[in-house]
Structures are given as structure tokens and as C-alpha cells.
Amino acid sequence: MESRGYRWSRRAIGIVSLLLVAATVILGLWITPPDVVQGQLVRLIYVHPPVAWVAYLAYGVTSIGSILYLWKRTRNLKWDLLAAASAEVGVVFTGLTLITGSIWGRPAWGVWWTWDARLTTTALLFVLYLGYLALRRVPADSHQRAVRSSIAGLIAFIDVPIVHQSVVWWRTLHQGATVLNPSLSPKIHGEMAMTLLLGFISFTSVYAWMLMHRYQIAILEQKVLDAELDQLIEERRREPDSESRQARPTNDVGNFDQPSKV
């Protein structure tokens, strides 16, 4: 079972996440000023880029877990379970990125959706990691599943830098990066920038909390599987004994005396 320290740290991160998100909401909705062009629409910026960042981070953790599983010196099923848990959280945050972007896009751009490079590659990212999760459901033994999903996770990660650079490499309706732009000079005013930074921290904290929960569930699922497996093996071991016990009376009456193999 989980250690006491793990349980307490998870709870602490949960409480801190709640407070940070509450602070982001208060600052984002009431304290920060409207934007000179966007007006009140700017308030979605305190959510949309942070959830997109968390999706990148989650897939980064999935990649690290995948590499650690594929590398024989560090091979352990826990890395595969961590990779899967992070991918699942990443898919949730990619979905949130698409939804919040669409909500902002309708009043700001005038459309819910358009096939520009940023939106298309983000949708592709979402589907790629859905594919990763679907692949994990395809029946296989634990090792086989871990190897093929690790490879799939690493291939899917190729899309992450493409998503980020899409606004630089191609002409898009989506604006360029405000903070992580090529010149690394944030194009956002003081208290708006501070609230955006708080948004990044608070959603990263939420990610850590969700990941710890999901990883714990994955560990428990694995233990249930192992327990079922041990039970099956035990039942299988007993089978020959019962067969030989049933066979004995027939031997007694002089039929074929075949030694039972255990």
C-alpha cells in the first residue's frame, strides 16, 4: 500500500492546488484589468496557456517514463505505469486546451474552429495520445504492453515541439507565443503577467496532484491483476493433484497405471 509520506504529500499538494487555483480565479476575474483590444476576453488567458503547458509537461513525463522503461538498466513496470498515468492526465488537459481555445476563439476570432497549423497539430496531439491509451487496452502481457506503448508514447511526443513551433513555421490564425517566444521577451503587462505566471504554477500543481492519484490507482490495478494471477497460478498448481486423486481408484481396479506428471 502507499506510504504515509506519499499520502500526506498528495493531500498537501491537493490543498495547495486548491488555494492556488482560487487565487488565480480571483486575480483573473476581478483584480486584473481588461485588455486594451480584447476587453474582458483576455481573462481566459489565465487558463488556456497554462492548461496547454500542463499537457506538454504531462507528455514530457510520459516520454521520460517510456525511456526509463525501454532502457534495460532502469526497466521497471512502475515507469510504464507512470507514463500511462501522465498520458491520461495529459489527454484531459489537451481536451481542456481545445475547449478553452474554442470558447475564446468564437468571440475573438469569430469562429469556434479553423484548420490552421496550431489547431490542427493540437487536435492531432489529442488523438495521438488517445491512440496511446487505446493501444494500452489491446490485450498483451505487461512487458509487451509496456514496450509497445513506450515506443508509441515517444513517437507521439514528436508532435509536441511541432505544436509549439507551428505558429513560427507556418502562417496561422492563432497568435504567436506571448511568453516563450523566440526573443524570450514576454509581451504582457505587469499584473496580467503575474496572474498568468500564477496560472502556470497552479495548473502545474493540479497536474501533480492528479498524476499522484492516477499513478496510485495504476499501482493498485496492477496489484489486483497480480493477486488474480497468483490465484490462477495456485489453482492451476492444484489441478494435477486433484486429477491424480481422481485417477487413483481406477488404477486400483487394474486399469492403465500411468504416472501423473506434476
Partner: protein, 165 residues
């Protein structure tokens, strides 16, 4: 944070495999469902790549580029990008007339759609439509917002382009 998993999978493949042999007996139905889900995802990836290659790579043409290639474009529908020229906006019964500009080349636009709420002079827009002579007939306006976020100062700047914030 990462805890160890107490199965035979930690490093030894044979131990892992011996246990998993019994594990790999899910129902055929479950297996079929997983393959169907994976198939749907593969189709979705193919669709997105098709849409991406078809639309994303040349998402729009700038006003200057479109004027240069006007003969080649003919009356085909494409996306045109430019900055709305100040003083060129005139409401019409069917929509709005205005001009867009890029690299000092301007294109007159006749639009028949409702402009988005951020539509205003000096803002970059992407228009969907086609040329009719030298006029671009548009049926969709999309505002291309910049990456800059500037706080409004109510005491100093109460309005922008006549719009109340």
C-alpha cells in the same frame, strides 16, 4: 513519488512472462473493442493529417501576395490576410466594406458576413472569399489577434477606436 510495483516485472523478463501468460486471457469481445478503438484513432489521425496538409500549410495569402498572384487565383476561394485600413470601414445593408493592407499593398473588400466583435481599424484579419475583378468578395471575417496583451488604463484611455471597453 514513484513507488515500486511488486510483480515480477521489475527487471526479469522470464518472471514477468510466466505470470503474464495467465493474464493474457481477456474475452475476445474486449480485445475486439480495443482494436476497434485503435482503428478509429488511426482513421482520426489520417483525417487530421489530410486536413492539415490540405489547409494548414498555406493557411492564408497576404494581401500583397494575393494581388501579385491575382491572375493565377482567378475566382477561386482562398483566405486573404491583411490589416484593416483606418477610415475604410463602411457599413452596408448586407455587411461591411473596408480595405486591408499588407506591405503597402491594399485590397478593397466587400463583406457579406457579420464581423466579429474585435473587428476594428488597424487589426489584422483573415478573410474567406474570392476576387471579383479587383474587389475581394468575403463571406467570413476572422480576427487575427496579436500575441500582445496590454492592460487598459481606465483613467488614461477610456475608449479604443470609439469602442467602450
Amino acid at each position: 513519488m514513484v513507488q515500486s510495483v511488486s510483480d515480477g516485472a521489475d527487471s526479469s523478463r522470464p518472471a514477468n512472462m510466466s505470470k503474464s501468460k495467465a493474464r493474457v486471457l481477456p474475452s475476445k469481445r474486449r480485445a475486439r473493442r480495443a482494436w476497434v478503438a485503435l482503428g478509429i484513432v488511426v482513421i482520426a489521425i489520417g483525417f487530421l493529417l489530410y486536413k492539415g496538409l490540405g489547409n494548414s500549410l498555406v493557411y492564408f495569402r497576404t494581401a500583397a501576395g494575393a494581388v501579385r498572384d491575382r491572375a493565377q487565383l482567378g475566382s477561386s476561394t482562398f483566405r486573404l490576410e491583411g490589416v484593416v485600413v483606418p477610415g475604410s470601414i463602411h457599413d452596408t445593408t448586407s455587411g461591411v466594406d473596408f480595405a486591408v493592407e499588407s506591405s503597402s499593398v491594399s485590397v478593397q473588400v466587400h463583406d457579406t458576413a457579420n464581423p466579429p466583435q474585435l473587428f476594428q481599424p488597424n487589426i489584422p484579419v483573415v478573410l474567406v472569399g474570392h476576387f471579383s475583378g479587383s474587389i475581394f468578395l468575403s463571406d467570413q471575417i476572422m480576427v487575427k489577434h496579436s500575441a500582445n496583451y496590454v492592460a487598459a488604463h481606465p483613467d488614461r484611455v477610456a475608449t479604443v477606436n470609439g469602442k467602450k471597453l
